[in-house]
Amino acid sequence: MAALTEEQTLIRDQARAWVTEQSPVSKFRKMRDEDAPLSFLEEDWRAMIDMGWSGILVPERYGGSGLGYLTLGIVLEETGRQLTASPLLASAGIGATALLVAGSEEQRQRILPGIVDGSNVVTLAVDEGPRHNPRQVSLSALPDGEGLTLTGEKVMVQEGVAATHFVVATRTSGQPGDEGGITLVLVDAETEGLSRTSLSTVDSRGYANLSFSGVKVGHDGILGALDAGYGPLDKILDRACATTAAEMMGTACQAFDMTLEYLKTRVQFGQVIGSFQALGHRAADLFTEMELTRSCMEGALQAIDADSDDAAELCSLSKTRTGEFVHHMSNELIQIHGGIGMTDEFDAGLYLKRARPLEAAWGNQSFHRDRYARLLGF
């Protein structure tokens, strides 16, 4: 753990206590088994709002606390540990970021206080195909005197079921593949012509596919300058990666802790299995990987908070390394638990099934390795 401020330490301890006592993984399981309509428990989301988590990124003048990305990451790591479902990441993290990076003062004043008090759930809609590719935006937004008319599709939108607003990457000029010609648009989820279908995914979270057919958005819905949305989008996506990485880190660390505990208690051949050297060395490798990964995850959040020049690099580094670690760790979680790990009754599968969607979100390891190399100039 990075050298934390007193406030950050307090928030972490509070978050850990709350998820452990109030929202352990058993609650996620219950939500899944009961097919909760929003794919999260509203009482939990309300509790998070009451604890101020929805305002961590939002400056005080819009009703938040403005504590920054590392602090949000600290909380997300804890919710990631127990797979606690909520719009915390998608709305209070990425949605708020979109407004802060790309929104005008008027737009921020209009939307951010609602993100903080929970009346708004704002989520980012970028991809249109199976794999992340922000340059490939083709959803068309035709300008006229009144504003823009949107036609096209967005897929796998996080918290797309609960969302009250979408920040949509649209194409106002150029071709799919061009960085120019992309415009970010804030769309009210209830606008005519916009429909959404909820998806059933391995991680039982609230994704939706969106269909836009002639959706009208006024000038006040355009975030930033027309055709110049790629730059801000790239910056928003960096922050999406860094915060998603924090949640992944928590998920992976919990998987590590469960595995270590099992190694210390499961007896086979007359001894605890952690005493087998091959397993002991695997645990040592995983621990080393965990420590190295944590540095990347925290480093990216700190770089964002400090607005460092290397923030983009570090976000791709963080997304890749946490993705690699949660991938490896979720597989080892199953393998080391053996048969019991394969049963639905045990929690290991829940972690495995959450890991892959997190890996894929905002670009998988392969995407970010390529991006890292490009940023380094080779």
Partner: protein
């Protein structure tokens, strides 16, 4: 009996043209699905099963007197290749559960003449389905620490305890169970292999839901279940030898890197599926160069695995010995299949994350379920770690550690 390969081949060809119903052509999945549905086998399929059984082709290498056809391995391979040519499929191993692949070969080796005559024909005809009761909740890789007890009641055995991972137990007629018959002996020395009827009051089964959804696995509870005295396979208290052999037959059956259930895009090769989901650049190369490199390494590993199976069979002149080589092949099959699943999920992106519903194709959903259920490959049938112990000890001759296992 076939005189030589050519005449046996033509004999098989004419037998197939006479007996194999066109309606069943290239429909293995359909046959097995109906077999386990309420309706059971279609009349064509049932006739085909009977014809196979009559010819002894359900378990073709078994002796004729036990329901086989007494074929050599070479002739069996001819039979199998001729069947494949006409799109025919032998449903009997599937119908018999663990019967043809594991129980039968072990009974052939350890059974009395009476046991062979009583049990094998039912298996070879696909009419009697078998499961195996080996693992227990607290005895996973450490099989020998099992506690299910069989008590000698004079004219029968009374069995109490619990088994887990009894695949297909809920629809089997018989179970081959490993039971403790001498509690005072050392762990491996007080175990026997007992064949038990499943249809009796003292036996209860409960299916296990797995991370990929429903599964063939059960928990099986024995509560004063009865076993006949003459259904003990092999010597009393030497069940460990029997099961070791049985597990070799199991490993044997798991050495092919079969596709995990569910394809990735309409029977496409992995590389073509990748092109479909990921796209290509101007040179026709996969757009994601990092994935392309990893996919290439995977395809190379898969080919190396397949070539190794062929090579070992060629060296053994047609039959893979039930041997150490099986451990290598089992682990490499597992690595290849699990890596393929992971790569497939990865390349499919969002479409590789579906659980159910219309937004994903049936194949996409099957791929995801197959990815999850395939995680078991490295756990069951002697885990990845156990196979490595076997390789290091039995093949390489490295000394056993002071640790067991």
């Amino acid at each position: 009996m076939a005189e030589d390969l050519t005449s046996f081949r033509s004999q098989v060809q004419s037998w197939l043209s006479e007996h194999f119903p066109a309606s069943l052509k290239a429909n293995a999945a359909g046959i097995m699905e109906s077999a386990f549905s309420e309706n059971g086998l279609s009349s064509d399929a049932e006739q085909w099963r009977q014809d196979l059984a009559e010819a002894g082709y359900g378990a073709p290498t078994w002796p004729r007197e036990y329901g086989g056809a007494g074929l050599s391995d070479r002739d069996a391979a001819v039979l199998s290749s001729e069947m494949a040519k006409v799109g025919a499929f032998n449903p009997i191993p599937g119908l018999a559960g663990m019967g043809v692949t594991m129980v039968g070969p072990t009974v052939l080796e350890y059974g009395t003449e009476e046991q062979k005559l009583r049990h094998l024909p039912g298996i070879a005809s696909g009419q009697v389905r078998w499961c195996l009761g080996l693992s227990e909740p607290n005895a996973g890789s450490d099989l020998a620490s099992l506690t299910t007890k069989a008590q000698d009641d004079g004219d029968s055995w009374t069995v109490n305890g619990q088994k887990i991972w009894t695949s297909g137990a809920d629809r089997s007629q018989w179970c081959g169970a490993l039971v403790r018959t001498d509690a005072s002996a050392k762990k491996r020395d007080g175990i026997s292999f007992l064949m038990l009827k499943m249809d009796q009051e003292g036996v209860r089964t409960k299916p296990i839901k797995l991370i990929g959804g429903a599964s063939p696995f059960c928990e099986t509870f024995f509560d004063d279940a009865r076993g006949e005295k003459d259904d003990l396979l092999g010597p009393l208290n030497d069940g460990w030898s029997v099961v070791k052999r049985l597990l070799q037959h199991e490993r044997q059956s798991q050495t092919g890197a079969g596709a995990p259930s569910g394809g990735s895009g309409g029977g496409l090769s992995l590389q073509d599926a990748a092109k479909k989901y990921v796209g290509t650049n101007a040179d026709g190369e996969l757009s994601d160069a990092d994935l392309r490199a990893r996919l290439t390494s995977h395809l190379m590993a898969a080919r190396a695995h397949a070539m190794t199976g062929s090579r070992i069979r060629a060296e053994a002149k047609g039959k893979v010995e039930v041997s150490a080589a099986a451990s290598i092949l089992k682990n490499s099959a597992t690595l290849v299949a699990q890596a393929r699943s992971e790569l497939t999920i990865e390349m499919m992106g969002n479409q590789g994350l579906g659980w159910e519903g219309d937004d994903f194709t049936a194949e996409e959903l099957a791929t995801v379920r197959g990815w999850l259920s395939g995680k078991a490959m490295s756990i069951y049938g002697g885990s990845f770690e156990v196979q490595k112990n076997i390789i290091s000890k039995n093949i390489l001759g490295l000394p056993e550690t002071t640790q067991k296992g």
